[in-house]
Symmetry: C2
Subunit: 136 residues, 2 copies
């Protein structure tokens, strides 16, 4: 019983990530990169620390994801007044391309949810949020 709960959650998560990666493929982006780009687009400039805390990811994977984005020219690292910190922000290139990416992701999400009623979506989000808050 419990087993099924964990199993379906795991499967769902994998499916969603895979589909998102498919949707981003034409742009040479991956899901983890997208999550960083999305946050930067809404929040502006953040340190890597702030980014990894916001996305609940450890520092090392964040470093890697950012390095790839830097290499692709979508993000730049700006040394902070505190020289240990690096502020990350979107490049002009990224700002220009962002709407295309966002559109592709939105399309993808709509496809994923098209046969799943909105009431169920809300319920699911709610249940997940409650549980997650208890775990953290």
């Amino acid at each position: 019983m419990t087993h099924e709960l964990f199993h379906t959650l795991h499967q769902l998560s994998r499916q969603l990530t895979n589909r998102l990666n498919d949707a981003l493929k034409p742009f040479g982006l991956y899901s983890a990169q997208w999550s960083v780009l999305f946050v930067l687009h809404t929040k502006g400039s953040l340190t890597q620390k702030e980014l990894s805390e916001y996305l609940f990811v450890e520092a090392p994977p964040m470093t890697r994801t950012i390095q790839r984005l830097v290499k692709q020219g979508y993000v730049k690292q700006i040394p902070g007044k505190d020289k240990r910190e690096k502020y990350i922000q979107l490049t002009e290139e990224a700002v220009k391309e962002f709407p295309k990416w966002e559109h592709a992701v939105t399309q993808c999400n709509q496809t994923l949810l098209k046969n799943f009623p909105e009431s169920s979506q809300l319920e699911l989000t709610n249940l997940q949020s409650v549980w997650l808050k208890q775990l953290l």
Copy 2:
């Protein structure tokens, strides 16, 4: 809105996997290995193909997980009549140790769910199953 749904699902999945890995650490096992051991314990002998289909995992990761289990002596590969196939089954060692592993996992799951009402668990499982079936 949609964004939150995907985000919390992803976070939840990671949290659960991390906790399970912690619980299995004393036995030198990891979550993916446990899922294979669990299936073999309930279903008996299966080919790698059957295993990966049952767990919705591609063949290559399954090969790796099995190779690690073989190295640890918890699983053996038996050539099938069709020489392309390999039947996988638990070793005596694994059968002997299984109850301990299962106990640790059960404990872990109870901890994870202890503040999450059973009615919510059922609802969540249900919503997830419905959605997942639509996606596959």
